[in-house]
Symmetry: C2
Subunit: 131 residues, 2 copies
């Protein structure tokens, strides 16, 4: 039986649709909602469910396979891999993530979210990482 | 005199170059490093400095003008606007930001950053927002 990962797509978002799929499946795998061995829906099935082009889903699955999250084999269901954590990233990569966090926070503030509210969101996420 | 916003571009990044420019200028405006009235370099100047196409910078300036961050007028320098904070966003927008934060954190973990390290980054950012 294939696990339906309950993916939500926003075609009007700035993030390309295939990246939205990659981000959501990666997040579920990192957070443990998808576990090694879990089967993903077929490319055709997910494309129909989401109402998007077959190629877009295929591109997302290819990217996830390249990142080591899933195994894809012709004629078989894509399955979540038992992916080991890579070695700690270089300082430059950490700095890159820090910048992306800063930009996202600036975007939230620009949209009218108060610094206090954003701060609470960050603290909640930090708390969740400790569990 | 025009303020040079010290923009860094990574042409190999997943984020389109015009969005990298938008993100960096918006962040500087939100954080106060760029202030209302500051002039930005001309489209031509910034394109030459960054070694990218004229149209890419023009697209970034258009997006920033649409978001209300800068004023652009033909033949004049683009200037940072005195942009008032919009009303608090809808719950759906807050949820969207929360998801983007979650995906970014999952990506950091997938790249090998430990939960403890990410948690510290988030706490530092939360602390910075209180000042």
């Amino acid at each position: 039986m294939s696990t339906s990962p309950d993916i939500r797509i926003d075609v009007s978002a700035a993030t390309p649709v295939y990246r939205q799929i990659v981000d959501q499946i990666r997040t579920r795998a990192v957070e443990g909602a998808l576990r090694p061995g879990d089967a993903l829906p077929s490319v055709r099935r997910l494309a129909i469910d989401l109402g998007i082009h077959f190629n877009t889903v295929a591109e997302a699955y290819r990217a996830l396979a390249e990142e080591g999250w899933i195994d894809v084999a012709h004629g078989k269901a894509a399955r979540v891999r038992n992916r080991s954590t890579p070695p700690a990233p270089e300082a430059a990569e950490v700095e890159d993530f820090r910048q992306r966090l800063r930009h996202l926070i600036a975007e939230m503030r620009a949209q009218g979210l108060s610094p206090g509210r954003i701060s609470r969101e960050l603290l909640t996420l930090a708390e969740g990482l400790k569990r």
